[in-house]
Symmetry: none
Subunit: 236 residues, 2 copies
DNA sequence: GAGATATAATTGGTCAACCAAATTAAATGC
DNA sequence: GCATTTAATTTGGTTGACCAATTATATCTC
């Protein structure tokens, strides 16, 4: 019951920074702010939103990190030319609009993960394998004690993406997976540490290590089957 | 000669924030900081590094964003409990935020487009086919006159994604494709309206209409081969 | 009136002081 | 001696003032 309260709280008591980010995003998506445009000065924004300048700055810093804004000292903050780096914000924003079905999310995850693991088999080096092993172990360590290992699970999949040497693919997964986990939890079907999942992680590690691409892809597909079936089942 | 000066400058005049990140990174890699450990308070750090607390905070914010640190108000900042090797890889990413390689972009596009066209074959209805035909025609109209039809080209691909009924996939393509086109143009290899591309669009339309999934996927792959080869060629 | 120069206003960056929550230490009661 | 309560301290969060670079405006020169 605890986690329900937590998730509610997170939605309800939104941090000022996130509110600003949300507002700026809306300005961007509605087209009121075009790439290259200059943002109102921090002081005006803080006044407008009725919040301290610190929060405005933090929001700008975060958006800058995503590559959405560029700030030039003593001049102003500008909207960057939209690139792949804008992915995160745009997607995560769009996802909350709810018009995207959970199935779409899961499907897309499958597409990305299968490619990711395939690239990983093809491109990893010895150093990478060490990283993957560490990641696997920190997952197993918790999972074998039946402790929730959501973060470690996520990290394992991202490490696979790392091995694939494709950052775009990785950043897309980075966005999609947490969203899936969130939605999955909402439906109270959270069973991240089944024996099946545990064994599949081990298998994935071995297959990738031996560059057994086909087997790895097959295992990954099976690994995602649970979520996929669930997603299909809730489609009206 | 210009870029040499720039890169030297970047190394020499490193921002205080980046210096801190570097230091924290070394603490992590030397094992002096283990996952779960508590970081020295911000004031101590700023004193130690001889830099304002603002910069320390910014560095922490950045590392927190990457999931390396967790900060609990009025308590302290802690090293997140994920594998140390994962930390290494993530931290190294922090310092070179710069661009995703063009190849990554193109690869990801291929992954998305192939899935997209496959879903399209499977899920479209008659109404959809009409839309796709309209889209194809407005492309052909321009292309046959050898007028640049970048927008129409893009729209055709997005329509295919529409037919696939997966909005997440579509929105990802929506973000990736313009970025590719931009990069492609930068290298002056703009030849969007070759006869080959023209014919491939026609083929794609027909295959999708007849639900010839395999043929459609094959054609799409061939269609993207040009960009893919170019991307591979510019990788040193 | 046009261009150059000096001045004022604007703006992001930085800093030091202060706040409230959390932690720790001390005091209290039994 | 132990548990509970209370006070003091530590800590991240926040604020407002100040700084230096930039930009806009006014002034001056010809």
């Amino acid at each position: 019951m605890e986690h329900v309260l937590n998730s509610l709280k997170e939605v309800g008591v939104q941090k000022p920074t996130d509110v600003i980010i949300q507002q700026v995003k809306e300005l961007l998506m509605s087209g009121q702010l075009q790439p290259g445009d200059k943002l109102p000065p921090e002081r005006k924004l803080s006044e407008k939103f009725g919040v301290g300048r610190t929060h405005v700055r933090e929001a700008i810093r975060k958006l800058e990190f995503y590559g959405i804004l560029k700030t030039r000292p003593q001049s102003g903050t500008y909207v960057a030319s939209i690139g792949i780096s804008a992915l995160e914000s745009l997607i995560s924003d769009v996802l909350r609009i709810d018009s995207y079905s959970f199935l779409s999310l899961v499907e897309t995850r499958e597409v990305l993960e299968l490619s990711s693991v395939s690239y990983a088999c093809e491109r990893h080096n010895n150093e990478d394998i060490a990283k993957l092993e560490t990641s696997l172990n920190s997952y197993l360590e918790k999972a074998e004690k039946h402790i929730s290992a959501v973060e470690e699970d996520l990290m394992f999949h991202l490490t696979i993406a790392d091995l694939g040497k494709n950052k775009v693919l990785k950043s897309m997964l980075l966005i999609i997976i947490p969203d899936i986990i969130f939605n999955y939890n909402v439906f109270n079907v959270c069973e991240t540490v089944t024996n099946k999942a545990l064994e599949e992680h081990r298998l994935l590690y071995n297959y990738i290590r031996n560059r057994a691409s086909e087997a790895a892809v097959r295992t990954m597909k099976e690994h995602l089957k649970g979520v996929m079936d669930f997603a299909k089942s809730i489609v009206q």
